[in-house]
C-alpha cells in the first residue's frame, strides 16, 4: 500500500489486573497495538484470553491498571464524565447478545433518540428526529413506522441486532467495536448482519474492530488480525499472513484445531 496509513487507536503496555493477593489475575498483560483508520481488525482469542477485558478498556468501560490508550495520536483522557462522553462520540460498540443489550423497560425510540441527542440533536424539531430515525432504520432494512412505540422484546434477535447497527448509523463514530456480534444469532442471519456492518463501514468510513473467538470469521472479515492468549497478544499481522501462514505455535494450533471443509481436519494433533 502506497498511501500512509493513519493510526486511529493504539495502546501501549496496556494491562488489567483483577483482584489482589492470591486471587490476583492478569487479564490483559502489557499489550501493544495500533489500529489504523478505516481498517477492519479482529482480535481473536479463546475464552479467558482477555479479549473482552481489552475491549472494555478500549471502550473506556473499565480503567486499565497500567499502560495507556491513544486515540488519533493523542493519549486518551476520560477522567471526567464530560470527557468520557466526548470519547464515546468517537468509539461505540455492538455487543454479543442482542437480548441483553436493550433496557426492556425503554421503548425502541428511546434507544435511537439517545443517539440523536448524543450527536447534539437534542433541540431538533420532532419531525427531523423522526426523519433521522426512519433513515437509520431504513439503512438496516427495518421500518421505523412499525417499530415506534414498541418494546425491544417484541423484536426477533436478528432485528434487535440490526437495530443496534442503526444506532451506530446515527452515532457515526470513528471506531466501532463489535464484540462477537453474530455469535448469538442464527447462521442464516449472520450474513445479513455482516453485510450491514460492511455497508456501514463504507458509509461512514470508520475503523471496525471485531472481538471474536471464531478464527474463521476473523479471517473472513478482517484486514488485520491480532491473536490473544492468556492476556498477551501472541501474533498479529494481515489476515492472510496470520491465518494462512501462522508463525506462532499457538496460532497454528488454534487454526489447526478448527474443523475445516476443504482440507482434511487433522485429528492426530491432540
Amino acid at each position: 500500500m502506497a498511501e500512509e496509513k493513519q493510526v486511529c487507536l493504539s495502546g501501549k503496555g496496556l494491562t488489567k489486573v483483577f483482584g489482589f493477593g492470591r486471587q490476583r489475575t492478569l487479564a490483559v498483560d502489557h499489550v501493544d497495538f495500533s489500529f489504523y483508520e478505516g481498517e477492519i481488525v479482529s482480535i481473536v482469542g479463546e475464552s479467558g484470553s482477555g479479549k473482552t477485558t481489552l475491549a472494555k478498556m478500549l471502550l473506556g468501560l473499565i480503567n486499565p491498571t497500567e499502560g495507556e490508550i491513544a486515540f488519533q495520536g493523542q493519549v486518551r483522557d476520560i477522567s471526567s464524565q464530560k470527557k468520557r462522553k466526548e470519547y464515546w462520540k468517537n468509539i461505540q460498540a455492538i455487543f454479543q447478545d442482542p437480548f441483553s443489550s436493550y433496557n426492556i423497560f425503554n421503548k425502541i425510540d428511546a434507544v435511537l433518540l439517545d443517539c440523536i441527542h448524543m450527536r447534539g440533536g437534542r433541540n431538533l424539531p420532532h419531525e427531523k428526529k423522526v426523519e433521522l430515525m426512519t433513515e437509520a432504520c431504513g439503512f438496516v432494512n427495518l421500518k421505523f413506522a412499525e417499530l415506534t412505540n414498541k418494546y425491544p422484546f417484541e423484536l426477533s434477535g436478528g432485528q434487535m441486532q440490526r437495530l443496534m447497527i442503526a444506532r451506530i448509523f446515527l452515532l457515526k463514530p470513528k471506531v466501532l467495536l463489535a464484540d462477537e456480534p453474530t455469535s448469538m444469532i442464527d447462521a442464516c442471519s449472520r450474513a445479513t448482519i455482516l453485510d450491514m456492518l460492511m455497508d456501514l463501514r463504507r458509509e461512514i468510513g470508520m475503523t471496525l474492530i471485531f472481538i471474536t473467538h471464531d478464527i474463521g470469521l476473523a479471517y473472513f472479515v478482517s484486514d488485520s488480525v491480532y491473536i490473544m492468549e492468556h492476556g498477551k497478544i501472541v501474533e498479529h499481522g494481515s489476515a492472510d499472513e496470520v491465518i494462512l501462514n501462522p508463525k506462532e505455535v499457538y496460532t497454528r494450533r488454534l487454526i489447526n484445531d478448527v474443523p475445516k471443509i476443504y482440507e482434511e481436519w487433522d485429528l492426530s494433533t491432540v
Binding site: 471502550l59 464515546w88 454479543q96 441483553s100 433496557n103 423497560f105
Partner: protein, 416 residues
Amino acid sequence: MKHTLQQVFHSGKFVIGFVIFVALMLIVIIYPLIITDAPLTIIAQGTFFKPGIYVNVYDSMNAPKYTLLLEDADAKRIASRLTPEDRQAMKEWLIAIGIPDNAIDIEDTAQLLGLWETHFDPKMQIAGMTNAKRNYYIRLNTSLEGLLATEGAIIAAKNADTGALEEKGNVGQSEFVNVTQVANVRVLPLGTDNFGRDVLTQLVTATRVSLQIGFIAGLIATLVGLTLGLLAGYVGGWVDDIIMFVTNLFTVIPGFVLLILISFSIGQERRGATTVAVVIGFTSWVWTTRAVRAQVISLRNRDHVNLSKLSGHSLVHIILNDILPYIASYVVMAMILQISSGILAEAGLSILGLGPRTTDVPTLGLMMNWAMIYQAHVLGKWWAYLPVLITIALITFSMNLMNTGLDQVFNPALRD
C-alpha cells in the same frame, strides 16, 4: 409492563393474598368512621366480658312492653338457670332414692324437672348424706319452685318520704321489650378485655397501628437496604467490601437482640409506636441489602448498562433507568416481607414488654401481651387473644401469599 401486571393478577396466590389484605385495609379504614369510640376507653367494670349484646336492665324495664306467647320460654328460662352442677346433683339425689340411672337424662330439662317434682321430698333421710348437702338440696328446690312460679315480678322502689316500698311496675313472664326501643344497648361482638375495654374497637385500631408500624419499618428497611445494596453492587471495590462486611456481621448477630437492647435503652417513656417502627426498620435491612446487591451485580455487567454508559448517560440516570426497573419487583417483594416481619417483630417485642408505651394506642402485640399477662388463654377467654392472633396471621399470610405469587411471576425457575 401492563402484561406483567396481568400475569401478577393471574396468579391465584397473589389474588387471594391481595383480597384478604384489601379487605383488612377496608375494615381498618371504614370501621372508625362508624364506631368513633376511643379504643382504650374502659367501658366495663370487671374483666373479660363475654362477646354479646349488652342490654341495659333499667332501660329495658322502662321500654314499651310486648306480650309474646312463646311456649318454650319457661323451659329456656329454667334451662339457662340450671347449671350442669345442679343437674348432676339432682340426678344423684334421684339415683339415691332408687330411680334407675338410665331413666335420667340431665340434658332433658323437662324430664328432669318432672322427675324432681314427683320424687323430691325434703324430709326424706338418705343414708350417708351430710346435713350441709341436705340443706343444699332444699335450697335448690326452693329456687326451682321460684323459677317454676307463674307470676311475674313486682318492681318496687323506696318512697323517699316514708321509706316504704311502693310498687312501681310489674314484669310478667311473657313480657318482652324490643331491643331497638331500649335506650342503652351496647354490642360487644368480641367482648371486653382484662381492663374492660371493647376488644373489637381496640383490635381495629391495633391493626391500623400495627400496619403502620409494619409499613414504616418496612419502608426504612427497604430504603436502607436498597441504598446500601445499590452502592455495594454498583460501585463495588472497597465500598462493596465495607458494606458487605457490615452486612455479614448483622446477618449473624441476631436482629432481635439488637432490637431488645435498643428498645430497652430507649426506655418505656420514649417508646412510641413510631419509635418502635423506626428501630425495627433499622435492625432489619440486611436481607434487602444482600438481595439488592446480588441483583445489581448481575445487572452491572449486562450489555444494556454498558450501552447506556456509551450513550453518555450519567451514573444517576443509569441507576434510575437501567438498574432500578430491573430490581423493582425484587424490592417490592422484599418490602412486603419486611412489612410482615416488622409486624411480627413488634408483636414479639411487646410480648417481652418492650413494645410501644401502653398509654396511647393499642397494637396487636400489646393486645397479645395484655391477654397473656392476664392469663386469658388459660382462663378460656378466647375473645381476648384469638381474634388478635387471627388478625396477625391474616396480615402476614396475605402478604406472604402476595409475595409468593409475585415470585412465581418474576422467578421462572419456580414455575413448573
